[in-house]
């Protein structure tokens, strides 16, 4: 007991820098994202990291902060991508409307899946979300007229965009990066506010102890559903950005592999930490890109890194770094 107590006393005396960084985490992240493309071998990879980082961030809100493991997040990511693409290709909406409505579509899809899934928890929740996301996968797969089915939805092209009279060439990789980064920074800021708000405290308390939260007067089911919908909005936004980044929505975006991918990224980076999912996405995609330069069996290598991480650094890469800094 005393041992534990001593450790905790240390844990709660973070250095001044950590406290400062925590308070201004969105600003620091924004500054980092400004120089990030210079550190990455190619710009398209930097955009990918941003998008998957955002996707993992949305997933982590549910998994890391609320404690529900979903295996159906590809449906939220895919819904955002498809709705953005469909609205641009078939309806002729401008790109920004597609992106915003893609975000809404992710939330709406989460509301549908969540309504059924939040009655369960643990492995049952994972299975229900997996099953429902597969149903949705087939709906989009079969609706070839709208989604292009197996071939994917082509022609989600964005070339020139103008923001407040400023004309930007979206085809230029660096410009594209900064446009996507602007969305991601706003999303980070919103997420940071949510987590620091009274509702953020409710989310944590439900994760920590559901029965106690209920006895305190919280409607745990509604808290879960609202968190799921918020998570869907972030993932839908990520999906929509992916659609305009790729100029196509491949059906694979909705496949359950995409759900598994985000679980891996969140675990790799550190679940329940603010930047962990982002770090996880970056490490995963960097490994994938760099290792595949010299071997086609890159998955073997990434898989090994993942196993080592889970076995020896259960807090994830970012989580372990934070833990080490707090202990100092």
């Amino acid at each position: 007991m005393t041992d534990l107590a001593d450790n905790s006393a240390k844990r709660l005396a973070p250095s001044g820098f950590l406290e400062f960084a925590r308070r201004h985490r969105t600003l620091l992240a924004a500054l980092f994202l400004l120089v990030f493309p210079l550190l990455v071998p190619f710009k398209a990879l930097a955009v990918n990291i941003l998008i998957y980082g955002l996707y993992a961030l949305g997933f982590n809100l549910l998994f890391g902060y609320l404690g529900l493991l979903s295996f159906g997040h590809s449906a939220l990511f895919g819904a955002g991508a498809y709705i953005c693409g469909i609205l641009m290709v078939h309806v002729g909406m401008p790109w920004w409307a597609g992106v915003l409505l893609g975000c809404v579509a992710g939330a709406a899809m989460a509301a549908i899946i969540g309504t059924f899934a939040i009655r369960t928890s643990g492995i049952y929740f994972a299975m229900v979300t997996l099953a429902l996301s597969q149903c949705i996968y087939y709906v989009f797969y079969q609706a070839t007229g709208l989604t292009g089915g197996e071939n994917g939805l082509r022609g989600v092209n964005v070339e020139m965009i103008s923001i407040f009279g400023l004309r930007l060439n979206f085809v230029d990789p660096l410009t594209r990066y900064y446009v996507v980064a602007a969305f991601v920074i706003v999303a980070l800021w919103i997420l940071s506010r949510i987590l620091a708000s009274p509702f953020g405290a409710v989310i944590e308390s439900v994760r920590e102890n559901e029965a106690r939260a209920r006895a305190s007067g919280y409607d745990v089911r509604r808290v879960r559903l609202v968190t799921f919908i918020l998570s869907g909005a972030f993932c839908g936004l990520a999906g929509a950005l992916q659609a305009i980044h790729l100029s196509i929505v491949p059906i694979e975006l909705m496949h359950y592999e995409t759900s598994g991918l985000v679980v891996m990224m969140a675990l790799l980076g550190g679940m329940g930490t603010f930047f962990g999912p982002f770090v996880g996405a970056a490490v995963f995609l960097l490994l994938e890109n760099l290792v595949s330069l010299w071997t086609v069996h890159w998955q073997l290598f990434v898989g090994a890194v993942f196993v080592v991480c889970v076995l020896f650094f259960p807090r994830g890469i970012w989580g372990s770094i934070l833990h080490a800094m707090e202990k100092k």
């Binding site: 708000s197 509702f199 920590e208 029965a211 006895a215 305190s216 007067g217």
Partner: protein, 252 residues
């Protein structure tokens, strides 16, 4: 039905059946406002089942529960805190990875706001102050910034009572508040309960009969899921049935 202001909580012939096992049979009791009522009985008597019916953790199989004259049978658990009923658990039940202060602050927040996701938590200064006041009351002020999971057992129990009080309950339900406590911790917990009872109604479940004899205004004795006796500590002490099933045996 007539509303008796003296009666804060009433159960009308409640029963609870789990599978084929009848855990509680036909219990009708009026709990008086402002009193400390203790529910006692040997192991397996149905005390915890009865407690869970009173606190809304689950609904009775038959019978009804009334709080301040209002039928609350089958109401979801989270509504109870909003009505003015708070409980502590038999097994320590805190938010282990949150600080002691945050534990109480979150509990206090429950009745004020849940879905406020834009303002910072610090903007609700009133909740922060309320939590600090409760930390003082339950004697944990010097543990304010420790993680709740690292507190000693007795401290966690005190924290739980602080969390229950955070919803400003008119009725406080305590399930074996001294379970697993050292004699010193037990004494200070009993003092705390008596102090709390001066401002609100307290119902507690207790396994150790001697402990509650001194502080309770009324006692209920359960045995095999039935109400064996009810009355003042003196009544209970001289009740032949109670002597036979309970006092005659060695106490733990």
């Amino acid at each position: 039905m007539s509303v008796d202001a003296e009666v804060i909580l009433r159960t009308e012939s409640v029963s609870k059946v789990f599978g084929g096992f009848t855990a509680l049979r036909d219990i009708s009791v009026d709990f008086r406002r402002g009193a400390i009522t203790s529910i006692i009985g040997p192991n397996g008597a149905g005390k915890s089942t009865y407690f869970n019916l009173l606190s809304g953790a689950f609904a009775p199989t038959s019978g009804r529960v009334f709080f301040e004259g209002r039928d609350v049978t089958g109401l979801p658990q989270h509504r109870f805190a909003h009505m003015g009923v708070a409980k502590s658990f038999q097994i320590t039940n805190v938010f282990p990875q949150l600080t002691t202060h945050e534990n109480i602050r979150v509990a206090a927040q429950a009745l004020q706001t849940c879905f406020d996701m834009w303002r910072p938590r610090a903007a609700r200064r009133d909740l922060i102050d309320a939590a600090d006041a409760l930390l003082h009351l339950v004697g944990l002020a010097d543990r304010r910034d420790r993680l709740a999971g690292t507190l000693a057992h007795g401290e966690q129990r005190a924290l739980e009572i602080g969390m229950a009080l955070a919803s400003r309950p008119r009725l406080l339900l305590l399930d074996e508040p001294t379970a697993g406590m050292s004699p010193e911790e037990t004494r200070s917990m009993m003092d705390l309960i008596v102090k709390l009872a001066s401002e609100r109604t307290v119902i507690l479940v207790e396994h150790k009969m001697k402990l509650v004899m001194g502080i309770s205004n009324r006692l209920l004795v359960l045995h095999h899921g039935e109400l064996l006796a009810e009355g003042t500590p003196d009544d209970i002490r001289h009740n032949e049935d109670v002597k036979r099933v309970y006092l005659g045996k060695r106490e733990h």
